[in-house]
Symmetry: D5
């Protein structure tokens, strides 16, 4: 199952730089584990914002929730989850060409 | 360049079925051309809605606009475009592991 | 998997009564099939509105989408899907008492 | 009477962990009492959020208000209450099959 | 039980005057029956709008829904229901003075 | 003149209990004075919220503003005022039956 | 009593020109009567919009409602009424200088 | 040029009374200067709110911005500016009657 | 004076192609006149939308309103006007370097 | 590529004046570098607000994000980016007259 997850990180501007740096280091380390595990499929930053859109894969909703909650910055997140399914255009493509082109 | 594009298709419920069918057939055909050209990277339907999220690639903003406008259902679209860049987690991943896992 | 689904039925006020009656009869018949199949767990009308909240169960997101789309009034729906997981209170209850009380 | 209650828990991120733990322990204990009393029929967490949807039963509006207010985290709640009634599909089901399937 | 009900009447501007007049006459007649039955306690028009706020009494949520739906203009309504309970100030008043002053 | 006044009380969760208690005691005392003076006709709490709806009477807009501002919790209020007039249904009732039934 | 009234005129773009012209002529004629009667104190068009802000005077809320409803374009209005009182700055001015400068 | 300016004053409830008093005194003094200079034509308080609507006159946009910024409470303002022009009804009035009636 | 003007063109999807073509031809012709007159300084299409942002210059608000209204598609516009002044960064630049770089 | 960027600067009112002054001085210095580099094409303040609209040029989305993030006040920004392309009116102008008039 795939989900589009929008995460807006609302950390107080006054947070000390070393706290931010530590959180970000641990955040990236955990994100890399989730990428390796095939759970965080893609993630992009929104231009001009401390927010991101990610494509998350999960076998269960519980797994998705646990993975989001495992990120060290989770207490500062505002999260919106949108369940996704295959689009007819992808289905039409796959019938003729097999898998979508890599990207 | 990558963009998250949210398309909400607002076709009147009273549209005759054959008009809808024709539009959808041409829509999928054009979408497949865009997939083949590497412009429509991924597209998913939102569960329960006649709306979708897509990851679009474009060399220029003009190209993105033209590609969106080339879809036969464009007159019925409500479109929102969000410019995306690489997320630090992806960057950290790439330094160690190279490309993101295929999906 | 469970989902809270909010469905707002936006049928034009001018729709002929016999069209409405036919749609509603078929809507209820299909809903009963979904209840029987264990897919539509509970559904309630919102007081004063032609809208409802339902608890839907699905093995996959594709199944949920297909079940929503199988309802005859679907073209008139405005749908919002919220993915749900077990609440800690339910978990605490289940450890001590087993299943939740029937309702 | 049944009500859909949406509770968004807005606790400051800086709240000490032991305060949070104590509140959550007492919150779950009180929730279990409400489940036992047949007042909190079902409750689910929204994926990715410190928010929940619950189906609450009450003989009076005063009782519903008192039960919500009896939760230790109530001062941090943002609450929305939606009054619910039986949906025609449930009514149609009950005429033929009796009670809804357990879940 | 008391409810604040906000009703916004959205009748197309092009509705023929005699249709409007007939609807309004039947609307007022039905409203008077509801007043007499003690179900519609008070109703006021919002200045400058074809909308109203009413204080509705009901023994059950089903009754409230049925009473709202019994109004001839119901198909043109956009309804919001807010459940109300006694305010502490009213409670304090009643302990000392008994019933609230008539109005 | 009658006004529907929606008051949302936004007191910080960290406010000391004795400060809250004192404010609430003085709030109720002042509210009772306004009830006695015929200025606060009815007031109800919204279920699940520290908010209320009230029907306020005033000879002038200045009087309404002064009465709202005289409440000790006013600095924590978010207020919305909706001017009300007699609804045609009430008018129709009064012509036949005189005053509205007491409530 | 003074009120700020925001009127958004939502006439269908397809309305025949002669219907629009007739409505506008009668609208202006009625507005002039209201100006003469001291009820419509000032009215301005919002730049780029078929909408206006007006300062309306009324002895009663009923009068304000009747005056708004007497405008021929009223069926196409979306109206918002904001009750106004004297601002402390005006009060301070008046104590020293008497009436506000004419404008 | 005329502008409708909506100012919402968002001062923290915890601001010491003497700070508020000093700010308000200087605010009113500066407002009176702006009235005298013909720049602040009219200003009203919104009933029940620490917010106001004013009609501001300015020869340039820079002047309007500077005048708003010259108010001592400006750091606590949330401001919305709406550019206004003469309404056709005023124009029609002026052709026949000259200036609008004083108010 | 400069204004940022956001124009959303809401033409019914069913508008005949020749009507659209004629409107667009006249729209562009009129826009070119406004560019030549120095009134429409810059205009850009929003990617994926039949909407635009423009920088408009005007000596008076009346002139801005008249120029917007002179566009043949004006009846289909939804317009928002934002008054602009020089930003401190531009001012700082101009002191040192004179005019902004051409673009 | 051009982008309309709306920046709302949300600095706490309590920020010490010398901190604000230092930030503003460095902000303007950096903005001037971006103007010189042809990246910040135009920037205007919104009347009455600590917010601005700017026309930003960038060869890549990464460049735009980096340039926005290089501003010293960036931690206090709320940013919205709108991708822009040439409007048909500009295109029509350019065919006949070449470049747009300088401004």
């Amino acid at each position: 199952m795939l989900f589009l997850v929008n995460i807006d990180v609302e950390m107080p501007a006054a947070t000390p730089q070393e706290v931010k740096d530590d959180l970000r280091a641990r955040e990236n380390a955990r994100a890399m584990e989730l990428i390796k595990a095939g759970k965080l499929r893609r993630i992009w930053r929104i231009v001009g914002q401390t927010a991101n859109y990610g494509i998350w894969e999960a076998d269960t909703l519980e797994e998705l929730h646990a993975n989001l909650g495992s990120l060290p910055m989770y207490p500062y997140f505002k999260v919106e989850v949108t369940p996704l399914i295959q689009h007819p255009a992808t289905e039409a493509w796959s019938k003729v060409n097999g898998a979508m082109p890599p990207f």
